[in-house]
Subunit: 236 residues, 6 copies
Amino acid sequence: MRPSGRHLDEMRSVSIETGVMKHAEGSCLIKVGSTQVLCSASVEDRTPPFLRNTGLGWVTAEYGMLPRATNTRNRREAALGKQGGRTVEIQRLIGRSLRAGVDRSALGERQITIDCDVLQADGGTRCAAITGGWIALRLAVNTLMKAGLITSDPIIGHVCAISCGIYAGQPVLDLDYSEDSAAGVDGNFVMLGDTKMIELQMSGESTVFGRGELNSMLDLAEKGVRELIAAQKAAL
Amino acid sequence: MRPSGRHLDEMRSVSIETGVMKHAEGSCLIKVGSTQVLCSASVEDRTPPFLRNTGLGWVTAEYGMLPRATNTRNRREAALGKQGGRTVEIQRLIGRSLRAGVDRSALGERQITIDCDVLQADGGTRCAAITGGWIALRLAVNTLMKAGLITSDPIIGHVCAISCGIYAGQPVLDLDYSEDSAAGVDGNFVMLGDTKMIELQMSGESTVFGRGELNSMLDLAEKGVRELIAAQKAAL
Amino acid sequence: MRPSGRHLDEMRSVSIETGVMKHAEGSCLIKVGSTQVLCSASVEDRTPPFLRNTGLGWVTAEYGMLPRATNTRNRREAALGKQGGRTVEIQRLIGRSLRAGVDRSALGERQITIDCDVLQADGGTRCAAITGGWIALRLAVNTLMKAGLITSDPIIGHVCAISCGIYAGQPVLDLDYSEDSAAGVDGNFVMLGDTKMIELQMSGESTVFGRGELNSMLDLAEKGVRELIAAQKAAL
Amino acid sequence: MRPSGRHLDEMRSVSIETGVMKHAEGSCLIKVGSTQVLCSASVEDRTPPFLRNTGLGWVTAEYGMLPRATNTRNRREAALGKQGGRTVEIQRLIGRSLRAGVDRSALGERQITIDCDVLQADGGTRCAAITGGWIALRLAVNTLMKAGLITSDPIIGHVCAISCGIYAGQPVLDLDYSEDSAAGVDGNFVMLGDTKMIELQMSGESTVFGRGELNSMLDLAEKGVRELIAAQKAAL
Amino acid sequence: MRPSGRHLDEMRSVSIETGVMKHAEGSCLIKVGSTQVLCSASVEDRTPPFLRNTGLGWVTAEYGMLPRATNTRNRREAALGKQGGRTVEIQRLIGRSLRAGVDRSALGERQITIDCDVLQADGGTRCAAITGGWIALRLAVNTLMKAGLITSDPIIGHVCAISCGIYAGQPVLDLDYSEDSAAGVDGNFVMLGDTKMIELQMSGESTVFGRGELNSMLDLAEKGVRELIAAQKAAL
Amino acid sequence: MRPSGRHLDEMRSVSIETGVMKHAEGSCLIKVGSTQVLCSASVEDRTPPFLRNTGLGWVTAEYGMLPRATNTRNRREAALGKQGGRTVEIQRLIGRSLRAGVDRSALGERQITIDCDVLQADGGTRCAAITGGWIALRLAVNTLMKAGLITSDPIIGHVCAISCGIYAGQPVLDLDYSEDSAAGVDGNFVMLGDTKMIELQMSGESTVFGRGELNSMLDLAEKGVRELIAAQKAAL
């Protein structure tokens, strides 16, 4: 029934290659099916002004998409002179999600910026960015710990994200672009470990949904997150 | 336990005054406690380019906040030269939510822009904007129908939104600012009628949540939405 | 002769409601006929850089108009990414006008920002903004004096503004939109007390004017300003 | 008493050199004392959208100042990414002033853009821009008439502008920078011919003024305008 | 003598992987040592306005760099709201260079946009972008020819680019970042085939150069270009 | 053969008038044929942040063109809200070129900004800007030395620039606009003294060039530079 022939609860293949950017304190290239996101973590010894002298650190994220990551070329945001609404919304989500998995007190007064740049898009880029961004963050924290700059691990647990939706009337896991553009309901589930939710964003532009559908999608999401955590562990 | 002395499942008082902007096709001033949002609907006889010759209409929204709607003055976005990420995120949410309650084919090739300007903020501005924005939309559609420009009512049902969260460890309905800024989990529930969900956005920056909390908040949200629909009906 | 049936020297009804924004140090909603402007004063303990260590304070203003304050919707300046020329011109006028009524030495090194947001426009918005902005300023200064932060009153006198013009060949007081858009000459008179001028801006795009017309309009303006001062006094 | 030793009613020397920009349809370099403004007129065969098919033409103006036209270098507006409030205000004044001297029906559906660029500033740049801009406009219209594109002269009369102010308690004509920065009242008088007013902008940031001062300044302005018209005639 | 141990006339290893972006009409990932640039070609059936109805096509380029492509993180241009001077300069160079290798008449009225995004930077990114961008262009033209949309090959010859400089007093080929940042003279040579020059940009910020050095660098550049052409041929 | 009737190796007449801007520390108006560029030097007692406490000074440049400097009016960059790519490229070139002729250690921690504004354009504006900008720089340094602020002359030698190109198949010196727009190859040669090169930028958009043409153009450039140095010496 799905365009890709996948089962309703079947994720696309996930691969995470670490250490792909030699300058970054942590980096990976995550591929979820044809979706490819390059994630890097950059550490700075200063925090935003509102955190000065609080002893707390900060994790933030920026998201971008190469102009031809998609089927037709999108105009380059740098040339347009501003980030679009979708970009802003996604990078705020990535930042909030990753911060939820960090003990900012243990991190200390430093900032880690996670850059997530989509090289190729086929649905699920924000979820891949969160899952891959966490790997970059984890590796950057490892770098700080190896250098003795942090003594207690600020990483609380695995953070990853997966989309679920109602496609052709059925709850499905991990929508690709052809499903995403036709889905009645589309949701993104960000979890800490495999059962605790950090963010839940569900949207039904062409239809509505009830508690039954919500629970079905949560079941799928938990399955997907378990597989993503396994992929994260394998990559590290 | 709540700063306002409200019960856990008690909303703030809601008032909706219609027809407050003489130029707009539909308008209202919605007050939810101390939060005040002025909503207007503007009808244009043309749609965005991507809908030309499709027979479908469009509903979109813009959101703003007066600089001194808040406790300390925020810089004016027009003077800064761009809308902030929060603004963009909220106006996209309002637009998606209201579109979900409209049969765009029955609306025909016209655009209705809902402007939601926060005159005073005390938590829950995006929810008040959706609830009030729907009133402005409903009134503008009434105007079009009275003028004979639309023959079949494109409004599918009431759209309204309410926030719920976990405050001091307890699920509470309709967070005000003092609760919102201290809440562990914060969610916005947009519904069509009183049981079907359009959008669900839950975020746990300082904690995480499980299915139990999600269900408790859904119960509260459904109660709140029933009261908001009653307020909408009373206003019309 | 006037579209509203008013006498040549008759102002529209003026109402000023104070204390309408709970967060601001001073605020009012001024209505001049159908024109409605929400004015707030925000106090900060710092001045612009060019006044540091001079002992002088600063009063500045920002002006905005809700997109549907007018008959047809204007694009939102925050979304356009810049304030239009008209907006900039008006907010500079408001700022200069209010500063002229303040002893900046008595104010001390603090800044008061007056935000004037037009909720509904029917001509004369800049004049209403000055008249209402002065009320917000007066109330904010009262707040500072009650708190003992200022000992000597920095307010020199009432500042208010009124438009006069040549409409259908006759000098008229307080133009509404239907008159303003058809007027040959259009002027704004800002006064300190009821006879001293702070700013005088007269413009004749479709005609010219001589000293006779100027004097007639000054007579009208002085009458209008006396009435506005009375309204300001009543509101306080 | 004046820093320059001039009499109270004495203008600075005025020179207008025409034809200084070989590409423009009309141009001049106007010098008023040390103030130097290069003015050009550019003709286009199209009008702004709001005038299409009205038979009416348009005259508009843009104003700029070289970064080192002033005593200390100002940042270049093109590099800052926007025109400042003062620039916008001035170019709107120039445009309105010149339009008032044109029969836009006789001009026909074309646009003339007057660029006024200040090469050196010593007070009175907006007045010099109007006076010189009119010369560029006059020359461009002559070009159009010689080419047979316009048959009836659309120029109604001379447009020129002069500043007056209250300096050291005395009304003075044509303020230079040292006077302007110390003046209690500062006004710009734009006239069509030597007695009819187009625009009158008076501002008293550090003091106020009454009808007596206004009349004294008007007397001075009329004298100045007579001299400027003579200079314009001599230049043509 | 070189930090990398390379001979004076020795290039870094070059690899070009084609077809790496599934949506683009042509694409490659070019690696020159540690420098990595992802290049894509996007075909549109319309040209810029200045070429309408001329029968000529257009080739243009945009250049970007991921924030953490470099040793310390650069701010994202999309977030800053504009492309920096260096970016603009480079993308103009890439566009001019590639256009020089195309018969725009044979291309017909269509535009090909070459996006060059630096994933990792270690000197020579603009040269790698030109060399890789040509591959993307070549592949996109092949796509058009296979589809029968173009009948005569518009590609005139291989375009590639290499840097040469004076490092530690010696002419060297293909500077990496450590050399580039210390070089007295730095030049980029863009060639069509292996002896004809399209662009030559030499800059000596910390020193000057004479004809002797210029000729030595030209000798090196020709050697480098021969090797790049071989790499391009191998990749196709 | 040349449109102007000049010999292949004949420059246009060059005039340099110094001291034309009374506020600037150094200034000149340079005319090369019909091309006119107004150049000023502004001295500030601070350097960009990256040079703080290094003992080194900075020389930078900004370039602009009046809207009607050209045959058809260009839109004003300040009104467009950004500097175009060509402007950015040119001002970076001017800055690099002038810095190459300065001992920044002798200059000390101060910044000199060279503003080059094209009043009239007829080809070769960037070269005229460099040649004239150097005069402004030289005069500003003289001012600093006379004031005893600099004791050792930081000016290393004359910096000037000339264009050469292949026009109608022949190498020509100092292209005017009619030649420039038709030239197959166009190059700018920036020199320190009359034989040492600082920058060399050659571009062949409609053709390519070999070493023979390059050498012919270098011969012409050296002749031109000798004449420009003579003009600079005469002006000082």
